[in-house]
C-alpha cells in the first residue's frame, strides 16, 4: 500500500513539477520568515536578523536542488531535457543528421536482409521431423562423368534391404507432370511418383486424410494421389470434403486420399502432387536405369561417416554381384540441408561477409562524423563545465544525442530492411525447397540495431571523455575551433578513414572478380545461339501414343506445319533442349573394339532430334554433314556426335563413317553410322564442360528418349509466335497439352541468374562502400581545412601560392588514402581466395581487376580531396587571421 502510494507520488512529481517547485519556495520562504521573526524576538536588528537567518539557511539554490532531488524524478527530467536539446541540435544540422542517419540505416537494412536470408537458407529448420537426421543418397558414377548420379531402382532396393544405418529409405522418381482434366480448365500439374514410405521417412503426416500404404504402391493398385496444401487451396478451393474425391489425372481415375500440411514441400516448392511409384519387381531389379532421388533417415546415434562407410561396403558388394551395371559405382549420403543449400552456401557466405564490411564502413563513417562534430564543440563544452555542469551530466547529454541518432537510424533501417528482405528473397532460386519465405527475422534486426546503437554510443562518448579532461582555460581562450587541433583527436579519425578505404578495396576487388566471371560466362560459346529461339514442350502421353508410328506421325505433322508459319526460319524436335537436363545418357558399343571391361563402358548423352534441330539452334558443324532429307525411316541409321565424344572415344582417329550401336557388346542392336561432328553444346549448365553427346534421328527407331521439346528459330520476337505454334500443334492433336513456351534466351538467363544476382549484389555493396568512403574522406578533409584555416591564412600571408596550399591538403588526404589502399590490397589478396569457387575462368589474383579497382579508387580519392583543397585555396588570409 505504501509502495503504491510512493509510486503514485513519483508520478505526481513528474507531471506537477512547477506546482511542486513553487510550493517548495513558499515553504522555504515561510521557514525563513519565522527564523527572522525569532531572531528579531531575541533582540537582533532587522538587518542582522535577516542576514543571520539567511546565513543559517546556507545556499538556497543548493538545497532547493537537494529537495528536488529527493523527489527522485531527476533522472527522467534530465533525460527529457537532453532529448529535447539533442533533437534541436540534430535539427539545426540537417546535413549531418540526414547523412549519419541514412548511412546507419542502409547498413542496418542491408545486414538484416542478408542475415535473414542466410538464416532461412542455411540455418532455419526444415519442415520435416528431426530434419538433421535426413540424408540424400547418391550414386557415385564419377567414372562415367556423373559424380552425383540419380540411383537406379535396383540399387535403391538393395541399399534399403542391406543397410544397417538407416531406419528407412524412400525414393522419388525423376520428372513428372500430370495432366489434370475433366475439372474445369485442363492443367499440367507438377508432381512426383514416390514410394509409399516417403512421408513417414520425412516424419510428416498428412493434415487431412491418410498417408500412402504399401497396398497403394504395387502395380495394378487403384490410382491414388496426395495433394499439397497449396494445390488444395488453389485448385480445389480448400474443399474440406476433398478426401475421397475422384479426379482424372493423365486420363486415369484417381482418388485423392490426403492433403499435406501447410508449408510442407518435398523436394521443392513446385511439387504439388504425390502419387505412389508402384515399382514392379522388375523395376526394383533394374540396376541399369538411373533416375531416382533417394532420401533416408539415419538411425539414432549413427553418424554420417558411419553411414557412408556402410554404403561403400554395400556398393562394393553390388559391384561384384552386378559387374556390368555396377562397376566402379559407389554410393554416398549427403545431409538434406547441404543438398538444398549447397549451391548457394558459398555465395551467401560471401554476401554475409560483404554486408558486414558495409556495416563496418557505415559505422566508421558515422563515428568519424560524431568525432568531428564533438571536436568542434569543445568550446561549448568547456563553457558548460565552467558553469558547473558535472562531467557525468555532460556525458549523459552527449550519450542521449548519440542514442537519438542511432534510434532514428534504427527506425529508418527497420523500414528499409523490410523492403530489402522481400526484394532479396525474390531472388532466391526456386529450386530451394524448404524456404517457405525468408522473413525478416526480428532477432537479426535486433542484433544489427544493437551494433548500430553500440557504434553511436561508443563514438558519441569517446570525445566526451576526452573533452571532460579538458584544460578549461586554453579551451575557452581558443578561438572557436580555428586554432591547431591537438593531434589526439585527428589520429582516431584518420585511423577510421584508413580502415574504411581498406574495407572498400576488399569489396571492390570481390565485385570486380565476379563481374569478370560473369562477363566470361556471357562470352562463352555455349555451342548454340539462344537469341530468337522459341522453345515449347509437347510431351506425349501414353497410352494414347503407345504405337511408335503414331508418335513419328505426330512429330512429322507438327514439324511440317510449324515450318510453314511466317517468321519461322527453322524448327526441330529434341528430347531435351540445353539446360533442361544435365544427363540423359545411355551406353554404346563401338564397332571393331573389344568388349569393354566392367566400368569401362561408354555412356554418352543421347538426344533424339529431327533433321532441322541443329539449324534451329544454330549449332556448329565441325566435319561431315547434318541430317538431311536423304535420311529417313528406311535408310541407313545415322548419327551425329559432338566434338568431345569424337575426341574422347576416337582419339587421334577420324570418326566419320565409323559405326557404333546402342547397348552392350552382346546386344543384338542395329548399327549407326557417324555422318557428322558438331560443336559441343553445354547441356548441363553454361559453366560446366560438355559431356560426350550423340544425336540420332527420331523417326529411325524407337528408344526411351522421345523428343519433347520443339525449338524454333524465328526471325521475329519468339514469344509473338507462341500462340500460332500452339494452334498448329492443336490442329494435329487437339488434346495435346502444350506447355512451357519460353524464349531460349530466357532459359540461358535463368541459368546465369544466380551468378548475376551475386555479382550485382556485391557490386551494389561495393558501390555503397565507395560512396561512403568518398564522403568519409571528404568530411575528414573538410574538417581539417576548417581547423587549419588560421594556419593556412598565415602561410598565404607569408607568400604561399595556391598550388602549394592545394598540394598541402591533397597530400594530407592522399596519404590517408594510400595507407588504406595498401592495407586493403594486401587484405584483398588474402581474402579473394575465399571466393575462388564462385569465379569462372578468373584467377583470384587477377591483375587486370586489381589494377582497375586501384585506378578507380585513385580517381575517387582525388575527387574527394578536390573540393576541400579548393576551399583551402580560397581562404582569405585577412579574414582567417582576424576572425575569432
Amino acid at each position: 500500500m505504501r509502495r503504491l502510494q510512493s509510486l503514485f507520488n513519483w508520478f505526481f512529481s513528474l507531471f506537477h513539477k512547477n506546482t511542486l517547485d513553487s510550493g517548495l519556495s513558499d515553504e522555504l520562504r515561510f521557514h525563513l520568515d519565522r527564523q527572522i521573526e525569532q531572531n528579531l524576538a531575541s533582540g537582533m536588528s532587522p538587518d542582522e536578523a535577516r542576514r543571520a537567518a539567511l546565513r543559517d539557511f546556507g545556499g538556497i539554490p543548493k538545497f532547493t536542488e537537494a529537495s528536488r532531488d529527493a523527489r527522485r524524478t531527476n533522472f527522467l527530467e534530465n533525460l527529457l531535457q537532453d532529448v529535447r536539446f539533442g533533437a534541436r541540435m540534430l535539427r539545426k544540422n540537417p546535413g549531418f543528421t540526414f547523412f549519419a542517419v541514412a548511412v546507419l540505416a542502409i547498413g542496418i537494412a542491408a545486414n538484416s536482409a542478408i542475415f535473414s536470408i542466410a538464416d532461412a537458407v542455411l540455418l532455419r529448420p526444415l519442415p520435416y521431423r528431426d530434419a538433421n537426421r535426413l540424408v540424400i543418397v547418391w550414386e557415385d558414377a564419377s567414372a562415367y562423368g556423373f559424380p552425383n548420379d540419380t540411383p537406379a531402382p535396383g540399387n535403391f532396393a538393395d541399399w534399403r534391404a542391406r543397410n544397417r544405418v538407416f531406419t528407412d529409405m524412400a525414393a522419388t522418381s525423376f520428372g513428372g507432370s500430370y495432366a489434370l482434366t475433366g475439372q474445369g480448365n485442363p492443367e499440367k500439374l507438377t508432381g512426383r511418383a514416390v514410394t509409399a514410405n516417403l512421408f513417414s521417412v520425412l516424419g510428416v503426416s498428412p493434415a487431412l486424410g491418410r498417408d500412402f500404404r504399401p497396398k497403394d504402391d504395387v502395380p495394378g493398385a487403384a490410382h491414388v494421389a496426395i495433394l499439397s496444401h497449396g494445390l488444395w487451396l488453389r485448385r480445389f478451393g480448400g474443399d474440406p470434403q476433398i478426401v475421397g474425391k475422384e479426379i482424372r489425372l493423365d486420363d486415369q481415375k484417381t482418388t485423392i486420399i490426403a492433403v499435406m500440411p501447410r508449408g510442407f514441400q518435398f523436394p521443392d516448392r513446385q511439387i504439388e502432387l504425390w502419387t505412389p511409384a508402384r515399382f514392379s519387381n522388375e523395376d526394383l531389379a533394374n540396376h541399369g536405369s538411373h533416375y531416382l532421388h533417394v532420401v533416408a533417415r539415419l538411425k539414432p546415434g549413427v553418424s554420417l561417416a558411419t553411414a557412408n562407410a556402410d554404403l561403400s561396403v554395400i556398393a562394393k558388394q553390388l559391384e561384384t554381384q552386378y559387374p556390368d551395371d555396377n562397376a566402379k559405382l559407389g554410393a554416398f549420403a549427403v545431409p538434406l540441408r547441404d543438398q538444398f543449400a549447397g549451391d548457394v552456401r558459398p555465395a551467401l557466405l560471401m554476401l554475409v561477409g560483404a554486408v558486414c564490411f558495409v556495416l563496418l564502413i557505415a559505422c566508421a563513417n558515422v563515428a568519424n562524423l560524431l568525432l568531428s562534430r564533438a571536436a568542434g564543440r569543445r568550446r561549448e563544452l568547456a563553457m558548460r563545465l565552467t558553469l558547473g555542469a558535472t562531467r557525468l551530466r555532460i556525458l549523459q547529454q552527449m550519450l542521449t544525442e548519440s542514442l537519438l541518432l542511432a534510434l532514428l537510424a534504427g527506425a529508418l533501417g527497420l523500414l528499409l530492411s523490410i523492403f530489402a528482405t522481400q526484394f532479396l528473397a525474390a531472388l532466391i532460386p526456386n529450386s530451394f525447397a524448404p524456404i517457405t519465405g525468408a522473413n525478416l527475422d526480428p532477432r537479426i534486426l535486433l542484433f544489427t540495431l544493437a551494433v548500430s546503437l553500440a557504434t553511436g554510443i561508443l563514438f558519441g562518448i569517446i570525445p566526451a571523455f576526452r573533452l571532460s579532461r579538458l584544460h578549461l582555460a586554453p579551451s575557452l581562450q581558443q578561438s572557436a575551433g580555428r586554432g591547431a587541433v591537438g593531434s589526439g583527436g585527428s589520429r582516431l579519425r584518420n585511423a577510421l578513414v584508413i580502415c574504411e578505404v581498406a574495407l572498400a578495396i576488399v569489396l571492390l576487388a570481390g565485385a570486380a572478380l565476379l563481374i569478370r566471371s560473369l562477363a566470361n560466362l556471357y562470352h562463352l560459346d555455349p555451342g548454340f545461339q539462344s537469341d530468337h529461339v522459341l522453345v515449347v514442350r509437347t510431351p506425349l502421353s501414353y497410352p494414347r501414343y503407345q504405337p511408335f508410328a503414331r508418335r513419328v506421325s505426330f512429330y512429322d505433322q507438327v514439324l511440317s506445319k510449324v515450318e510453314t508459319l511466317p517468321g519461322v526460319l527453322a524448327a526441330g524436335y529434341t528430347t531435351w533442349v540445353p539446360l533442361t537436363n544435365p544427363g540423359g545418357a545411355t551406353s554404346i558399343t563401338i564397332e571393331g573394339r573389344p568388349e569393354p571391361a566392367p566400368g569401362e563402358h561408354l555412356i554418352p548423352n543421347i538426344r533424339m532430334i529431327s533433321a532441322n534441330y541443329p539449324a534451329a539452334l544454330r549449332m556448329k558443324l565441325i566435319a561431315g554433314r547434318f541430317f538431311d532429307r536423304t535420311d529417313g525411316s528406311h535408310t541407313q541409321f545415322v548419327a551425329l556426335i559432338n566434338q568431345t565424344m569424337a575426341k574422347n572415344y576416337w582419339p587421334g582417329e577420324n570418326p566419320l563413317g565409323k559405326r557404333f550401336k546402342r547397348g552392350n557388346y552382346k546386344d543384338d542392336r542395329p548399327w549407326f553410322t557417324i555422318v557428322g561432328i558438331v560443336g559441343d553444346v553445354h547441356q548441363a549448365a553454361l559453366d560446366l564442360p560438355a559431356r560426350p553427346e550423340m544425336y540420332l534421328l527420331y523417326m529411325q527407331f524407337e528408344t526411351g528418349f522421345d523428343p519433347e521439346y520443339l525449338a524454333l528459330h524465328t526471325s521475329v520476337d519468339p514469344m509473338s509466335l507462341a500462340e500460332a505454334v500452339r494452334q498448329q500443334v492443336w490442329s494435329v492433336d487437339s488434346e495435346q497439352p502444350v506447355s512451357g513456351a519460353m524464349p531460349l534466351s530466357d532459359m540461358v538467363d535463368d541459368n546465369l541468374a544466380s551468378r548475376r544476382m551475386q555479382a550485382s549484389l556485391l557490386t551494389g555493396f561495393a558501390a555503397i562502400a565507395l560512396l561512403l568512403v568518398t564522403l568519409g574522406i571528404y568530411a575528414v578533409l573538410s574538417f581539417a581545412v576548417a581547423q587549419r584555416t588560421q594556419e593556412i591564412g598565415v602561410r598565404v600571408a607569408l607568400g604561399a601560392q595556391p598550388a602549394q596550399v592545394l598540394r598541402m591538403i591533397f597530400s594530407q588526404g592522399l596519404k590517408l588514402f594510400l595507407i588504406g589502399a595498401a592495407i586493403g590490397l594486401v587484405a584483398a589478396f588474402l581474402l579473394t581466395r575465399a571466393i575462388s569457387h564462385l569465379l569462372f575462368h578468373v584467377s583470384p589474383y587477377d591483375p587486370a581487376s586489381f589494377a582497375a579497382i586501384t585506378t578507380l579508387l585513385v580517381a575517387v580519392a582525388l575527387l574527394a580531396c578536390y573540393l576541400p583543397a579548393r576551399r583551402a585555396t580560397q581562404v582569405d588570409p585577412l579574414i582567417a587571421l582576424r576572425y575569432d
Partner: protein
C-alpha cells in the same frame, strides 16, 4: 546529492517521525521542537531538514497538507501515515536495542 549533516540521515528521519507523531507540524516547527526538546544539542540544519521531509513524503511515510499557521500564513503541515506509524515503532525499538548494546560495550569492554 547527500550533504554532510550533524545527524546521521537515518536518525534524522526517526526524530522527524517522532516529532510529528503527536500532532501535525510544519517544517520550522519541527526543527524548533527538536532543538528545544534536546536542550539545544541537536540543531537541525534546514539544508538537511527539507530534503529529509520531502524524501519521507515521497516514500509515503508522511503526508503533507497546506494549512494556516499560527499567524495566519500559509504553511505546509506534515503528519504520519499509517505505514509511517508502524515504521516509527520499528525504528524506535531498533534504536533502543542499538543504543543499549553500544552502552553495554562501552561499559564493559
Amino acid at each position: 546529492m547527500t550533504k554532510p549533516t550533524d545527524l546521521v540521515q537515518g536518525t534524522l528521519d526517526l526524530l522527524i517521525l517522532k516529532t510529528i507523531a503527536l500532532q501535525p507540524l510544519h517544517g520550522w516547527a519541527i526543527a524548533q521542537r527538536i532543538r528545544q526538546v534536546s536542550n539545544h544539542v541537536l540543531q537541525v540544519n534546514q539544508g538537511a531538514l527539507y530534503p529529509a521531509l520531502h524524501r519521507l513524503e515521497q516514500q509515503a511515510w508522511i503526508k503533507s497538507e497546506w494549512g494556516e499557521s499560527e499567524n495566519n500564513r500559509r504553511a505546509k503541515y506534515y503528519s504520519l501515515t499509517r505505514a509511517g506509524k508502524k515504521y516509527l515503532q520499528s525504528e524506535e525499538s531498533n534504536w533502543h536495542r542499538l543504543s543499549s548494546a553500544i552502552g553495554l560495550v562501552l561499559k564493559n569492554v
